[in-house]
Point group: C2
Chain length 210, copies 2
């Protein structure tokens, strides 16, 4: 196990490239999502091993619901399966998303907007499911706090799939996040990609503007 | 002049690395800022040439005010000088920042929170001066709209100085911005850096989540 001088407390994960991976491997686009579940589990174990205290996974957004119905079913199922796979392990789970919409999966109601503690609770795992940055900021406007208020500042964001943008990921919490881009698609997750990211992060000079 | 298939409408500029440049070149840290003014003017001319319609420059933030007094004076003066240099040209100027604080320079009051039109008004140029992302979001909470409501969504953010983070730059407007990092420090600005960035941008696949 590698030693790092400095480890992020809270990591944001943008697991992009499922559809491009599917196309590249001769599947239908929708079939990419189910190949993204085991990578998430592998990453969870790796984060435990390296003492990461909190991680937020970008599940799907309101904008993603514009996609074809078979893709919507597939990414929704993948989110539900991922949360179920991690429930009962040593993690505290929290799902943040707009539950007032039918796009929010009923299976995840038990975790919606309240954290559920499992086992030794070694890590906080948050999932953005039917999330929408405008919905999040509207809560601030109308109810005086973010819908995602229970998710703290994100130190480090790792995005798979080569794109260099946030795509609406927690705008208030990512103001000081350092970004790392993995060019490979998410279903091609490898432990080494995460370790490369941590190695890069330990040399980031954090000033918070000072 | 190079032809691009696709040009961003609104570019965010994070001109970082002034102090590291000063140190590298045998100056005092504070002396870096004045070497960042002519690069901004060169970039303005280049943006006009390529038909960019709007640009937002990250001047300084509330957090930057934690720095040594001589640095504070220097970056404040550099912001004032940059705005003065561009006033009277063919640009519409707008300064967004917290004017309730003494850290906001009086010389920029005429441009504060209202756009001032000059000449042919070929480009909108916005400057964030004594800006603070929390102050911006607090306006949304308390007054129903962002303090920066007059600045539209940013398509593309170019950051000089190698760091890969937003550092609080317009969190609501940068949700879908593509990021490009220039490793060189801002006072070492070269036209080619900007053209490389535009070349990269034209191949970004914009989906807005769909």
């Amino acid at each position: 196990m590698e030693n790092f001088r400095r480890i992020p407390s809270h990591i944001g994960i943008i697991p992009d490239g499922n559809r491009r991976w599917a196309k590249q491997n001769g599947y239908e686009k929708k079939d990419g999502y189910e190949h993204g579940i085991m990578p998430g589990f592998a990453l969870y174990k790796l984060m435990l091993e390296y003492g990461i205290k909190e991680a937020t996974f970008y599940g799907f957004t309101k904008d993603n619901n514009k996609r074809a119905p078979d893709q919507r079913s597939a990414f929704t199922k993948a989110c539900v399966d991922a949360v179920h796979l991690l429930s009962g392990k040593d993690a505290n789970l929290l799902v943040i998303g707009n539950t007032d919409s039918t796009a929010f999966p009923r299976e995840l109601y038990p975790y919606a907007n309240k954290r559920v503690h499992f086992g030794q609770g070694l890590i906080n795992l948050n999932f953005l499911v039917n999330y929408d940055w405008e919905w999040d900021l509207n809560h601030l406007k109308e109810q005086g706090k973010l819908a995602s208020w229970d998710i703290p500042r994100v130190d480090f964001i790792i995005r798979w799939g080569g794109r260099r943008r946030l795509s609406g990921f927690l705008p208030a919490q990512s103001v000081y996040s350092d970004f790392y881009i993995v060019d490979e698609y998410w279903p091609d997750f490898q432990n080494t990609q995460f370790l490369d990211a941590l190695r890069w992060y330990q040399d980031c000079d954090v000033t918070l503007g000072g």
